[in-house]
């Protein structure tokens, strides 16, 4: 009975192996119940046998790991004097571990951890052949069946679209421009992500094939018909938090609403900016008015978001800024004012501010000097000797 079901499972042709990954636990239940005696009777391929052995080994290993983790959680509860139930929560475990073994390593991935084994041991691909060693997938011998299946599908779609287009031309119907795919805000997933999706390692040149084929697909006038297929492989270029996550202003004791933007950074300057509404256009930078900046260009930078949103006379600004030089400080305050003003202007003005780049942090920094060069880019004057 068990055997039958197992065989069925193994025989079941898995045609669409696009993202067919089974997690190891699942996989364990299947193979652990196999009585290996049947291998003696049936003519089983060597590869199949080896595979099953490895699978069983892995399964047992995972089992012990799971067991150990379970006991470890009980031990942890005992050490911390807590009820074991609360350590069902992974966050609590992390908290306890960071208490017992505090580490200040910069990368959080490098710090000590105690995680369930499923999280630690990478996922693996399931069997792609039956017990006689016959491959399920027709592209199995390309060694990258999922990848080539993807290309195959894309071309299939393209052919379908061509046929559809011919049909439409025969009926003298033209494509509705409103339906055209708008893909300017997204791009193809990169090679790493594609590899994760396909569970296969691919070469850069193969990634390029993928991009070319997909680009041809979206250039097709009827590409909107396969939008679902395309969307799987696109990623958005930006997150919408700047526009959507606008903080609500607080109310101070004078009844004015205000927003404080912390961590306004530009070059080596850092500061915080408070925008008060309604105001009269007063500006206070480190306790001084706009004369804090001697140069016109810096003053213009402070003015920029205010005149852009036409809020010059309607808000008061307070800024504390330190580090860096005048232009860096002015840039930091400019960003702070723009971020603070989001709460006091309409949504379309916020959108316009984004088009003007006011909400974008300027990440550019001084480029370091390189050894063997005179500066960041400049090379030493070449001398024969």
């Amino acid at each position: 009975m068990l055997l039958k079901s197992t065989l069925k499972l193994l025989n079941n042709p898995v045609n669409r192996l696009l993202i067919n990954r089974i997690n190891s636990f699942n996989y364990g239940t299947v193979t652990s119940s196999i009585n290996l005696d049947f291998l003696k009777r049936d003519k089983t391929s060597k590869a199949m046998k080896a595979y099953l052995e490895r699978a069983q080994q892995h399964d047992e290993f995972m089992k012990t790991q799971n067991e150990e983790f379970k006991i470890g959680k009980r031990h942890l509860a005992n050490m911390m004097g807590e009820d074991p139930v609360i350590y069902e929560d992974q966050e609590k475990i992390d908290e306890a571990i960071s208490y017992l073994m505090p580490s200040a390593l910069y990368d959080k991935r490098a710090r000590p951890m105690m995680k369930p084994p499923e999280k630690i041991f990478p996922e693996r691909k399931a069997a792609e052949f039956d017990e006689t060693g016959r491959a399920h997938h027709f592209l199995f011998y390309t060694s990258k069946p999922n990848f080539f299946q993807l290309l195959y599908d894309a071309v299939e779609h393209l052919n379908g679209l061509n046929k559809f287009e011919d049909n439409m031309t025969r009926q003298q119907k033209s494509v509705d421009p409103a339906l055209r795919l708008e893909l300017s805000g997204s791009e193809w997933i990169n090679q790493d992500q594609l590899e994760l999706k396909l569970v296969e390692n691919i070469q850069p040149v193969e990634y390029r094939y993928f991009v070319n084929v997909m680009n041809r697909l979206i250039e097709h006038p009827y590409s909107f018909r396969v939008k679902d297929f395309i969307d799987i492989y696109r990623r958005p270029l930006m997150n919408q938090t700047i526009i959507l996550d606008i903080p609500k202003p607080h109310i101070d004791k004078d009844g004015k609403s205000f927003i404080t933007v912390y961590e306004c950074l530009r070059k080596k300057a850092r500061g915080d900016v408070t925008v008060r509404f309604p105001g009269s256009g007063k500006i206070l930078i480190n306790g001084q008015d706009v004369t804090y900046f001697e140069y016109d260009q810096s003053r213009e930078q402070i003015l920029f978001p205010l005149i852009f949103t036409e809020m010059l006379d309607k808000v008061d600004i307070e800024a504390n800024v330190e580090g860096g030089g005048p232009s860096g400080q002015a840039g930091a305050i400019r960003w702070g004012i723009a971020m603070g003003l989001r709460s006091f202007v309409d949504a379309d003005v916020v959108e316009k501010m984004r088009y003007a780049g006011l909400l974008q942090r300027d990440y550019r920094r001084r480029e370091r000097k390189k050894p063997g060069q005179e500066g960041a880019r400049r090379k030493f004057t070449w001398k024969k000797r």
Binding site: S186, Q191, L237, S298, L303, K352, A356, G357, R365, E367
Partner: protein, 225 residues
Amino acid sequence: MLRNILQFTKFSRASPTILANNYSQYEPHFINPVFKKDEQEALIKSGEISKIAFVPIKAPRNNDNSSVFHDHRVSKMVNYIMQGGKKELARKLMSETFERIKRIQIERYHKAQTEEEKENIVLNPVTILHMAIENVRPILMVTPVRRGGVKYQVPVPISEQSSYYRACKWLVEASREHDRKTHLPEKMAFELLDAANNSGRVVKRKHDLHRLCEANRAYAHYRWS
């Protein structure tokens, strides 16, 4: 291939870092900001704004702003004048140039007898700068091409951007050329006024270049053969 690999490493990082192949701190899909209000209005009107609705945008640089006094050509000119990164000084020189132009023009304005004459005098220095640049913009230039061991000066058309660059550079060069006793703003004011009048040394330089192109028209085919 190298480019591809580098591109991939970039995405896996959380913060933008210096890349080996292109030095930009922004990822390649970032586009330049549209910070002038009228330019933005034009984009909205033409509907092109929807194209950039979901595209990340770079922050404007420190010499960009949406002030009514901001002029793209002027800020470019300031950059051409600037030496050794002293932008404040360059701005001051530009401002002094404009001041001198204005003084000269206003004096002329007051000297003018009739209303008609007065109306013809351009007082706005920024307009004069624009006129001057338009007047000294070349449309052709020569580029050396080596054929059979001989270098030929081959006339080629130049892009709009490049022609603006050349015009500005010539103006600045002409203003620096004189004796070292007179200040740059003084010379530049005269150069700009001359060029705006379609006369003067810089306009002559443009004509010289065009004449050279004309003389070398026989070599024009070397551009593609």
